[in-house]
């Protein structure tokens, strides 16, 4: 794999709208005692400056592992990237030596985690932890780092930042803690932020505030945002495009509005049908029957076929390729046309 392609470099310099991140055919597997779990199987996507990509999927669909592989923080062993590339402005991160790769973390690509309380070190004040970014990466003095920390706390709208800079993580509410995590990841003006279920641990009103904050910050700085979630509601307001994952594969990629309007994959369709709706109050909630596949033993053909109401013989025999449906839109279903226009029949 080429590390830096000169032609690529030139292209990136000319085109401000060129993708900052290109993930191509990424494969990750976990070698466990029970066998090899194929957690990510050929995921590809790209991200442009200022764009928000949502990666959607159930637990175990490989969305967090994808994020960890991009960041280079997979637990190895047991996790290994076996194939594919992750290019940041043309540089393949996967082939960089660890020492160089570390420079990208926090500086170019940073990450927000699900549980802000456990992601913050309990023995240091929040100001110290935000300031650490400037001290480690920029060699700032303690006093300067603290000043910057206060600025950042203001920027993520933490009230009375001056007084709270010396407080410890457990003295903040859940939403405020997540803001501190955001401040830390934002510290060095990264080009990309990966948010791994940033609002899952928060209650609904706080979720909305945190998502709004992320959207505002993104608008200010033109950074790319990868939002990993299983919450379709969170995605709807902020994402530009969505990638739906199932059993480690991308099964549908689409801009947000067409996807919500008319899904081109039965799994997406079922997911949307499972959202609780106010107008159906009192009725039993829709569920997708069956359970997600065991990653050490993914079904043949389309991984979704055992749970798919439209499954045909071909579905258990051939893996459906990710086919272009329309501009910027792809689906991995043998019957995407029929799913899209609603003419498909249940078994």
């Amino acid at each position: 794999m080429n590390q830096t392609n000169p032609a690529d470099d030139a292209r990136h310099k000319q085109d401000a709208n060129a993708p900052v991140l290109e993930v191509e055919d990424l494969h990750v597997e976990f070698r466990t005692r029970d066998g090899v779990a194929k957690a990510v199987n050929g995921v590809s996507f790209d991200l442009r400056p200022g764009e928000t990509l949502a990666i959607l999927g159930e637990s175990g669909s490989g969305k967090s592992v994808t994020a960890q592989a991009i960041m280079g923080i997979l637990d190895t062993p047991p996790g290994y990237v076996t194939q594919g590339s992750v290019r940041f402005r043309g540089t393949d991160l996967l082939t960089l030596p660890e020492k160089e790769r570390r420079r990208y973390r926090g500086e170019k690509i940073s990450m927000i985690f699900q549980d802000a309380l456990s992601s913050l070190n309990p023995v240091y004040s929040v100001g110290f932890q935000i300031g650490e970014m400037f001290r480690v990466h920029r060699g700032a003095s303690r006093a300067d780092a603290k000043k910057k920390a206060i600025e950042l706390m203001d920027r993520v709208r933490i009230p009375a930042a001056h007084e709270r800079v010396n407080d410890y993580p457990h003295q903040f509410s859940g939403g405020m803690r997540q803001r501190i995590m955001i401040a830390i990841s934002l510290a060095l003006d990264p080009d990309i932020i990966i948010a791994d279920e940033p609002t899952t641990a928060l209650d609904v009103t706080v979720q909305a505030q945190v998502m709004q904050l992320l959207a505002d910050l993104q608008a200010e700085s033109k950074m790319g945002l990868i939002l990993i979630t299983h919450d379709l509601g969170v995605v709807a307001d902020v994402a530009d495009k969505i990638s739906v994952m199932y059993a480690g594969s991308l099964i549908e990629q689409a801009p947000i509005i067409p996807l919500y309007g008319s899904p081109a994959h039965p799994y997406t369709e079922r997911l949307l049908a499972a959202i609780p709706r106010v107008d159906l109050k009192g009725q039993e909630l829709y569920t997708i029957k069956g359970i997600p596949p065991n990653l050490t033993n993914i079904p043949t053909g389309c991984a979704f076929h055992p749970r798919c109401p439209y499954a045909q013989p071909i579905c258990s025999e051939q893996v459906p390729p990710l086919q272009d449906v329309s501009e910027g839109r792809r689906s991995a279903c043998h019957f995407w046309k029929e799913t899209l226009d609603g003419s498909i029949q249940s078994r």
Partner: protein, 318 residues
């Protein structure tokens, strides 16, 4: 093998280190006295608890007193512990000599005072040494895991299998000379595996924390993650066990001196004096009594301190 003179430092420094709990607590912005304590960091929180714990106050006062005695024995007695007059052999208390005289006719009170130095020094030096050696090995084994862990842990097991007292006897016999450093080295050499195991377990549990992953995702190096993020969160159990073990190390030194292979007889030590006293136990029990009581109180003080620190650092035990 540890080089004793490198791990050694003046007793005052080590004492300061062992009381860092309090120092770091107040530096971290502990609540002003009188203000209703708003919980702060783990350490200042622990300090807040400790200050209100009578066990801690009693043991801390005792330990501070012991350290003063060990450092400036001249403040407490003007009698030379090595000035002995056989005329006074085994005599009871007399004016100026409250504890009486031992078999050689030396003043017991001044020997008890001067004996504190050997015990306190051995205890503190050994504890510092085992925390450093055991801590580093345990932390590295846990942090890197895999082959590193297997190799280091087997190495620890080898030392762990040697009985402490027996090993120390063999080790000391192998030396042509005896002084406080050989005793410290012998106990240290065999005492560190316990610290190493505790540190390893503690680091393994902290290593899995989300904040460690977060630190890595934000570009921290291995060294920084280990020293800045893992160690401060993993050190508490080690401090607790170290404080309790300090008492045990003092007992071990006394045992070795009692057996005649610890400190040389020219060094005034409680263990050596207890050994000397046993021959006249029935005729002059007071000769045995005072150094034994001094030893017991010292060990008790460190054990109490360890207990208090454990309670403060681990709220789950309350």
């Amino acid at each position: 093998m540890p080089e004793p003179s490198k791990t050694a430092s003046p007793p005052q420094d080590v004492v300061a280190a062992s009381l860092t709990l309090g120092v770091s607590g107040s530096a971290g912005g502990a609540p002003k006295p009188g203000e209703i304590g708003k919980p702060r960091s783990l350490w200042s929180d622990a300090w807040h608890d400790l200050r209100r714990n009578p066990t801690f106050i009693v043991s801390a006062v005792l330990i501070v007193f012991l350290i003063v005695v060990a450092t400036f024995p001249g403040l407490f007695t003007s009698t030379d512990p090595k000035f002995c007059d056989l005329v006074s052999s085994n005599k009871g208390g007399a004016p100026g000599h409250p504890f009486g005289f031992d078999r050689q006719g030396c003043d017991i009170y001044s020997r008890v005072i001067y004996g504190a130095r050997a015990s306190v020094m051995v205890g503190i030096l050994v504890t510092t040494g085992v925390v450093v050696i055991g801590g580093v090995i345990g932390a590295l084994a846990a942090f890197y895991g895999g082959v590193v862990d297997s190799v280091l842990s087997r190495f620890v097991d080898v030392f762990f299998a040697i009985p402490l007292l027996l090993g120390a006897i063999v080790f000391l016999q192998a030396f042509p000379f005896r002084n406080i450093w050989t005793v410290v080295a012998a106990i240290m050499l065999l005492g560190w595996p316990q610290m190493s195991r505790i540190m390893r377990g503690s680091v393994i549990s902290v290593k899995e924390s989300d904040f460690v992953t977060a630190a890595r995702a934000l570009g921290a190096s291995d060294l920084r993650i280990l020293t800045r993020h893992i160690l401060p969160n993993a050190i508490a159990p080690v401090i607790v066990v170290a404080t309790i073990s300090l008492g045990l190390f003092i007992v071990l030194e006394a045992t070795l001196s009692f057996l005649g292979i610890g400190l040389p007889s020219s060094t005034v030590s409680w263990g050596g004096d207890i050994n000397d006293a046993q021959s006249s136990l029935r005729s002059a029990p007071h000769v045995l009594l005072y150094p034994s009581v001094a030893l017991s109180i010292t060990v008790l003080a460190f054990m109490l301190l360890g207990d208090a620190v454990r309670d403060a650092l681990d709220p789950k035990l309350r």
